[in-house]
Assembly symmetry: C2
Homo-oligomer: 199 residues x 2
C-alpha cells in the first residue's frame, strides 16, 4: 500500500510575491480525510559554503524581520528558471552577495527544509578558493548586508557556541564540512560519560 | 542606527489549525516601505536526538505530504503552553512517538528555521540512555509512523550518503553530535585537496 495521500482538491489561499499558499483536501491511505491541509510553495534555494585560499569561510550578516534580529548566514539565494543546476545559482548568488568568485564549485547535498508543509528544497554547494573580484550587487530588501571572513579552524567552535542562529545554514555548513571530509566521528563514545564509571 | 524594520500595520490573512499568516506593512531603517511582507507564526518545536544504552540513535519514518514522500526523521514535536522548557517537550514527544524514555535529557541548542519569514524556533535536545517503556501514542496525522534504531557508529556515513532528507533534522543531529563532543574537526585542511600539490 502506498504511503501517499491523495489530493482531492486544492484551492489557492494567497499567491503573491514571496508567498504561494494553497489549502488542499487530502485523503490518507487509511481513508481519513484531512481538510484543509495547507501547503506552501517556494522556489528551491541554494546555500554556499565558500572557502578562501587562506582557509576562511565567507559569512554575511543580514536583518531578518520575522525574528526581528540580524543573523550570521551563508551567502545564498533562490534558484531562477534559467539555472541549469544549483551550481549556477551558487555562482551567481555568491558573486552578487559578496563580490567573490570561486575557482571551483561542488554540489554537496539537497535537503527539504520542511517536507510536511513546504514544497521547496535546499541545495548546498561548496565554493573552493573564493577570491574577491568585484563589488556586491544587492537586491531590494538586502540593504545593510555585510560580508565577513571567519577562519575555518575557529568555525566549529563558533558554531558550538551559537554563531549561526539559523538551522538551515547550520545544516548546510556542517553537511559541507562532513561531505568534504573536514569533520569525523570520534573513536570513543563521549555522549554518555556516566557509562564509563559502569565499567 | 537600529537594523530593525518598523511594522506599520499587520493584517491576518489566514489563521487556522497548522497556519497563522499575516501580511505586514513594514518600513526599513533606510525609509523604504515593504508591503505586503508576509510573516508565518508557528509554535516552537523540539527535535530529540535519543541515544540508547547500546549506542544507537532512534529515528522515525513518516510520510510528509508537501514533498509526497516518506522521510527518516528524529522524534520531536511542538511545544505546548504547559511546557516549562524544551526538555519537557522532548521528554513527552520522545515517549509519545517512540515509546522510549531517557535516563537524562540535555538541552543542545536553539535555532531559527527561517527567521526572515517564520517566527518559530527549533530546539534540539539530547536524550541519553533511552530505553523502551511503553507503546507509541500517535496523534492524528501520524498514522504509519515507525520507529528504528541506527548504530551511532554508522550514522555519520549514512548522513553523508543522504539518509536524512530533512535539513532541520540534519541540523539537530549534527549539532547534538558536535556539542556533545561526538564529532570533531580534522586538523589538516582537506577541503581543497588541489592545494597540497602547490607545495
Amino acid at each position: 500500500m502506498s504511503d501517499r495521500w491523495t489530493t482531492l482538491s486544492a484551492d489557492t489561499v494567497v499567491k503573491d510575491r514571496w508567498i504561494d499558499l494553497r489549502a488542499e483536501s487530502c485523503l490518507t491511505p487509511a481513508g481519513r480525510e484531512i481538510s484543509p491541509y495547507y501547503v506552501l510553495s517556494y522556489p528551491d534555494w541554494v546555500n554556499v559554503v565558500a572557502i578562501t585560499p587562506d582557509e576562511h569561510v565567507l559569512l554575511i550578516r543580514q536583518y531578518r524581520h520575522a525574528a526581528g534580529q540580524v543573523f550570521w548566514e551563508l551567502p545564498g539565494g533562490a534558484l531562477e528558471p534559467s539555472d541549469v543546476d544549483p551550481i549556477d545559482a551558487a555562482r551567481r548568488e555568491l558573486e552578487e552577495e559578496t563580490g567573490y568568485r570561486a575557482e571551483r564549485i561542488e554540489f554537496i547535498t539537497t535537503l527539504y527544509p520542511n517536507p510536511a508543509s513546504h514544497t521547496n528544497r535546499l541545495h548546498t554547494c561548496l565554493a573552493i578558493n573564493a577570491s574577491p573580484v568585484g563589488t556586491q550587487q544587492l537586491e531590494a530588501g538586502e540593504e545593510g548586508l555585510t560580508v565577513h571572513k571567519v577562519p575555518l579552524s575557529e568555525l566549529v567552535d563558533k558554531l558550538r557556541s551559537g554563531l549561526l542562529g539559523q538551522a538551515l545554514h547550520t545544516s548546510s555548513l556542517l553537511m559541507a564540512l562532513l561531505v568534504s571530509g573536514r569533520i569525523h566521528v570520534s573513536e570513543a563514545p563521549v555522549i554518555a560519560p556516566q557509562r564509563a564509571s559502569d565499567k
